[in-house]
Structure formats: C-alpha cells, structure tokens
C-alpha cells in the first residue's frame, strides 16, 4: 500500500511537471516582454555604456544621454537636452529639459550632468565611456542655471555633441567611490532587479518625461547558445533574441539588420613580404567575397571597401570594391618574387574564436583562397586574450608576417571613432606609420562640416587604395528573432540598445 501511494505521488508529480504548456510562459498575452541576449552585462553603471552588453540594457531604457544619434543618418537629435550650440572653439552650451526627474526622485538639472560627466572621467572608476569615447579630451562642465550647461574642452572638439550621446546621465546619488549595480536614470524604465547569472528586470517608470512605453515589465536574460536563444522565441519563453547564427536564423521571424560592424583583415605591413604593396593587393584580389556572402557570411552582408559602414560620417562611396581575380593576384606575386620579395615566407592568419558567427569557417575558406593564389598562409585561431595581444601594441620586432581578423564597430557615427587608433603612427592598433595619413586624419579630426567629410573620405581612400593596409570584407549584419506577435524593427543601433519603449505587442 505504501509503495502504491509512493508511485501515485510520483505520477502526480510528473504529470504536474510535464503538463503541456506548463513550461511556456504567457508573456505574449500581457504587457511583459523577455529579451534574450548572449551575455550577462558586465556592469549596470551609467558610466559603462561604451560596452554594448551594458548599453543594451541601460541606454535609453534606464539611463539617457543629453542627445541621441539618429539611426537613419547619424545626425545628433535631442534627448535630455533640447538644444545646443558652439559658443567658441572650446565651449559648447546645452539647454536642458526642465520636466525630468530621476527614478530615485532627484531632479534632473545641469548640476546632475556636471556630476555625471566628472564621474565618467574619474580615472579611479575606470569608466568605459571615459576610457573610450571621452579619451584624450578633458571635458569640464559648468552649470549656468538648472537648465543651461556649458561644456568646455582643453582642445577643439568639433563633434562634442556626438560624444555626449555616449554619456548616460545617472542620478546624482550614484556612488562616486565605486560602480553602481542598481542604476537610477531618467529613462522610460526603472531598474528593478539584477539576479546574478540569471536576469535583469526593468519596470516602466510612471514619471517618464516622454511617451510612455507599452511594455510595462521587461526581463533581459542571457544564453550563450544561438540555437537556444532562437528556440526561446519559438517556444514563447522570449519575444526577442539577438545574435542568432545564420544557420539558426532561417525562419520568417528572423530579421537581419546592419550592426555598424565591418569585418576586415588587418595587414601587418611592416614585415616582409607584406611590406610590398603588390603582395597586399594580391591578398585582396585572392579573396572571393561573392563566394563567402550567403554561405559563411549572412546573405545580407554588404561587401566592404573601407573600415566603416555607409552610415558613418566620412564614409567614401567612391572607393572601388576589390574584384576576385586570383590570376592577377598570382601575377602580382610573381612580379614581387622577381624583385626579391620573399613571397614564400609563411604568413600567419590570426583569427579570433567567435568574433562573429562562423569566424573560424570564414578564415578557413580565406586560407584556402590565399593558398590557391600562391600564398603560404597558416591559420591560427586565438581566444580573445591572446588575440588582443596581437591586436594591441607593443609587438615583438621579430614577429612573423601576419594578417589579423578583426571587426570594427562604429555606432557613434563619425570616422574619428575609427581612424586615429587604427591607422595613425601612434594608434594602439595601427600597423601603418605614414606621415601623410597622420596629417590627413589629424586635420580631418579638427575640421567641421563638408571639410571634415571630404578629409575623412580622402583618408579612407588613402588607406584602401594608396597604402592597401587592410583586406576589407563585409559590412556585417546581425540576426534578431522577433516573435510574430511583437512589433519591433531592429536598426543599426540595435547592437547597443534594445529601445524597449518602441516595442509593443500587435
């Protein structure tokens, strides 16, 4: 009898556990939304939004910046600031909204921006924004009155408003002696909870100054596996999943969108035989980009001719895309060899595991293409840390000739965020030391308007055509899976912000 009771209890338990539908969440019928991303955020501090994993949760959901960049053309549009003007070469004035309060009840005013900007640049805090976007310039903010702010710089900063789009303004109560794990901002969502290893929960903020969001409760979770992320939308456990691998993203729910990333191979042009321009041209001619797209790379990826996508200010549309011409590559190599260039020397292709979907497969294909053209190329796939040692200076003088797989993102919308570090003599990732290019980039960085555009276009052309320092591959796309009953169109900024307030159920 005892045994029968035990079996009965077990059966009831199993029936309860396995009841159809018990595993499927009912979010679809409510105002709740679950979004699945690849990784847990490193930080939810407002000053760490330069890292996309943090930014996706924070930016324009919990915290906001003075301005935003338009996803359509990268132009600066108002957010917490209603207007701005350049007072003199070193001073900008911002007019702020007067109807905004932080989630913790504190008023948003010029003093709050002063505190946030100072905090973002505090070296002791090592904020992502301070270390990247704001690097190299000292930004001093002064509150003229609650709604008027002056930002002074120590050097000319023609794109200061663009840079301010990366500085999220946290509550003045944000600690100054450490990073915050419970951010308070001005955005449409309040931070509710961060369950380590599992999820971050947000709830709509009733006192939001802008249009109220439709979704009242949002949960961001993370799964490392693309197939699992995709399955979560298929089962209704999540409504949006990002970074779906091409092989998993084949349904009508899968939407590709440009992610502001450009994949390319950086050529180490200092080491023979890659110090010969003909060899570098041969590298470009040996790669069948049409053969890679739609197979290893997503079919919507666009063939690239420079290191930034067309949405970036300074993009040069007139640089010709490399054709696939292995015969010409062979003849260039033969000519170089005749001049004593050691073209038989082994060239290492350094790749980074998982830098984008099918990153290893793409390099395996490229290695085969280079071999067909007569290169002696060896592939070495690296994990992130050793790859960074290859990416960042200082490098060993006795190093092997190499090309390095990389992917450059530019969500800030201006070429200055891409060029100086990667293509000038002092750049920490630059394999090129060319005084003419240095001067061109320096001049472009200080210029404004059409002059700035023209100079950056020249710089891109110089890199691609005159020095041939890179093997551009593709302007990349990311796939997001969106549930059928959800209205959401990912745009070029979706890699850095989820824009929850624009999402609704049909």
């Amino acid at each position: 009898m005892k045994k029968i009771k035990g079996i009965g209890a077990l059966s009831i338990g199993l029936a309860f556990l396995l009841a159809p539908g018990s595993a499927i969440r009912a979010d679809a019928a409510s105002d709740k939304l679950t979004v699945v991303v690849t990784d847990e955020p490193k930080s939810l501090d407002p000053c760490d939004t330069d890292l996309s994993g943090n930014s996706r949760i924070l930016h324009n959901n919990i915290t906001e910046a003075l301005v935003n960049l338009s996803p359509a053309d990268g132009s600066v549009v108002p957010s917490l600031a209603t207007g701005w003007r350049q007072v003199d070469e070193l001073t900008w004035e911002f007019k702020l909204r007067d109807d905004v309060t932080f989630h913790d009840g504190k008023a948003f005013d010029a003093n709050a921006v002063v505190a946030a900007l100072k905090r973002a640049q505090d070296p002791a805090l090592a904020c992502e924004v301070g270390l990247a976007t704001l690097k190299g310039v000292k930004f001093n903010a002064e509150a003229v009155n609650p709604t008027t702010l002056l930002i002074k710089t120590d050097i000319v900063e023609p794109i200061l408003p663009n840079k301010m789009s990366a500085v999220d303004i946290g509550s003045p109560a944000t600690p100054n002696d450490g990073k915050s794990r419970s951010p308070a901002g001005t955005g449409p969502y309040k931070f509710a909870a961060w369950t380590p290893g599992q999820s971050v929960d947000l709830v709509a903020y009733d006192g939001y100054w802008g249009d109220k969001p439709t979704i009242k409760n949002a949960t961001i979770i993370w799964r490392a596996e693309s197939a699992v992320r995709a399955a979560m939308v298929a089962t209704g456990e999540a409504q949006i999943a990002y970074e779906i691998a091409p092989q998993d993203g084949t349904t009508e729910q899968d939407h590709s969108f440009p992610n502001a990333e450009t994949s390319l191979l950086r050529i180490d042009a200092e080491i023979p035989p890659l110090n010969d321009k003909r060899v570098r041209e041969a590298l470009n001619l040996a790669i069948d980009r049409d053969g890679l797209v739609g197979t290893i790379f997503h079919q919507d990826a666009q063939k690239a001719m420079q290191a930034v996508p067309p949405s970036v200010f300074g993009f040069n549309p007139d640089i010709p895309i490399w054709t696939y011409d292995p015969e010409k590559a062979k003849s260039l190599l033969a000519a170089a060899k005749a001049d004593g260039v050691p073209i038989d020397k082994e060239i290492v292709i350094y790749g980074r595991i998982g830098i984008y979907p099918n990153s290893s497969e793409s390099l395996e294909a490229i290695q085969a293409m280079l071999a067909d053209a007569g290169f002696n190329a060896r592939l070495e796939m690296l994990e992130t840390s050793p790859w960074l040692k290859k990416l960042l200076k200082p490098w060993d003088k006795e190093r092997q000739p190499s090309i390095l797989q990389t992917q450059i993102d530019n969500t800030e919308g201006d070429a200055v965020f891409t060029l100086p570090n990667r293509f000038t003599t002092d750049g920490n990732q630059s394999t090129i030391a060319d005084a003419k290019l240095d001067a061109l980039i320096a001049e472009a960085s200080k210029a404004t308007g059409d002059e700035r555009k023209k100079l950056f276009e020249e710089a891109f052309s110089y890199i691609a055509v005159d020095t041939v320092n890179i093997v551009p591959l593709f302007h990349m796309v990311t796939i997001a899976r969106v549930a059928e009953n959800v209205t959401y169109t990912p745009d070029v900024q979706a890699g850095n912000e989820i824009k929850l307030k624009s999402i609704s159920y049909r």
Binding site: L17, A19, P20, S43, E128, Q198, A227, V228, A231, N421
Partner: protein, 306 residues
Amino acid sequence: MSFTYFLKRAVFAALALAALMTSAFFLVRLTGDPANLYLPVDASDAAREAMRVRLGLDHSLPWQFLDWAGDMLSLDFGTSLWHNRPAMDVVLEALPNTLALGAIALTLAFIAAVIIGSIAAVNAGGWIDRGINVLSQAAASVPDFWLGLMGVLLFAVTLRILPTSGFGGPIYWILPVACLFARPFGTLVQIVRGSMIEALNATFVRTARAKGARGGRVTFVHALRNALLPAVTVTGDLAAQFAGGGGVVEVVFGFPGIGKLLIDGILKRDFAIVQASIFAVAVVIFFINILVDMLYASIDPRVRVE
C-alpha cells in the same frame, strides 16, 4: 571513522590545497593580461597601466604571490573584476546549484546503473545484455552539448513540455539533469555489469545458492553488495568531476552553476573568480572523498576507515 583519521586527511588535504592554489595562482597569470581584456580596445596605454597598478599586476610575480598568499591565509579571495563583487560571494551563489545538479544526476545515474547493470549481468550474453550494452555505450559516449540541444529541440520546441533553459522550479532541472545523467549512467552500467558477472561467479554466491537462497536475494544482496565497490570508486571520481561544474551543460541551459562561472572566469581572466572557484571545489572534493571512504566502510565491513 575516527577523529584522528579525519584530522590526518584534513592535514594532507590542506597541503594539497596549498599546492593547488599556488599552481592556480601562477597558471592563471600565464594566460594573459586582464587589462587588455577589460578595457576598451581604444583605451590609452596610460589607462592600461593604471589598471595594472590598480590590480597590483605592476609588481613582480614573487611580490604578487606573497601579497596573494597573505590574502589567502585570511581567506580573502579578492573582488571579481567582471562581477565587481567579492569573488567568494559569487562562487558561493553558484556552487550550491552545481552541487544539487550533480548530486541529482549522479544519484539517479547510480541507482539506474545498478539496476540495469545487474539485469545485464544476470542475463550475460543474451539479447537483453547486448541491448543494454549498446544503450550504455551510447550513453557513455554521447556529447553533452549535442544531447542538450537535441533535448531543447524535442522537449521544448517540438513537444512544448519543458522549458528550453533557465533556472527555477523543478521543471527547469529536467533537461540539465538528463544531459548530465547520460555519461555516468553509461559508464556505471558497464562497471556494475562487469563486477556483477564476477561476483555472480564467485564461490560465496555459489554457496548462497547451494544453501537455497532465492535468485533475487543472491543477486541483489549477496552479489551486488560485493560488486558495488568499483562502482562507488568511479562514482566518487565522477562526483569530484561534477563538483567542478556541469561545464557545457550549464552553458547550454544558462544554468547559473560553478562550471559556467569557472569557464567565464577563465575566458575573462577574472583571476579572483578562478581562484575562489578552485578553492571551493577543492574543499568540496575533499568532503566527497571522505564520504566515499565512509561509503566503502558501510558497504564492505572488511574495509575499515583508519
């Protein structure tokens, strides 16, 4: 088990732990510079150097070691770079999940393996035995990763009876437990079958049969008790492996355990997390070994834990 025995084991374990932690200290530092990994690629050299100073990585390795050893003695594992919290707090959140996951999977695998392995041994050479052999070989060799994804596809996407992944009530444990169950089940079935065949042919079993003991009693009391020792040994080893986390299973199912934490810690060069995880897992393994010794003694009275 005497207190002296426990003390002796504890002293040896402490020495082993000290050697392990010292190795871990040097090995993780061979894997790369966290300053490169944690700062944006556009960060300046000055910012990288400042981070190295902040982390104490600017000192010589012996100096870093002495500093770290001092912290170890006071059980201070430092702050996780990635989580920005005390590393041991993060580890102690994840460890119970992994231990529970491993304990459930291993207990089920042990019980199932004892039953199925005994059935195979009793029917040695027959079609039941051959069928069990194929099943156990397959279970022992199936990759966790593949099994996990197939489980998601079948039970979550197609049948809609289980969640794809995540952490929560009992239903969230079924697929991870099933994936972790497979390999030890397959291995243990093979071991139980082999030792049971040996035991069933032993003289004491023939004596029991000659005295008129029933078949079931002979198999499950006389033979099985003697055949269990090798299975317990292997289960102890498997338990030690599981204490280090369900690895890929935790990654696939987004299960917040120590395996995923340790993998992330290594990939992200989060020295404090790696060291705290290794310490915690080593302590757990010490207690698992004690437990296995005690089990030995209770299964076979000839074995005395001294």
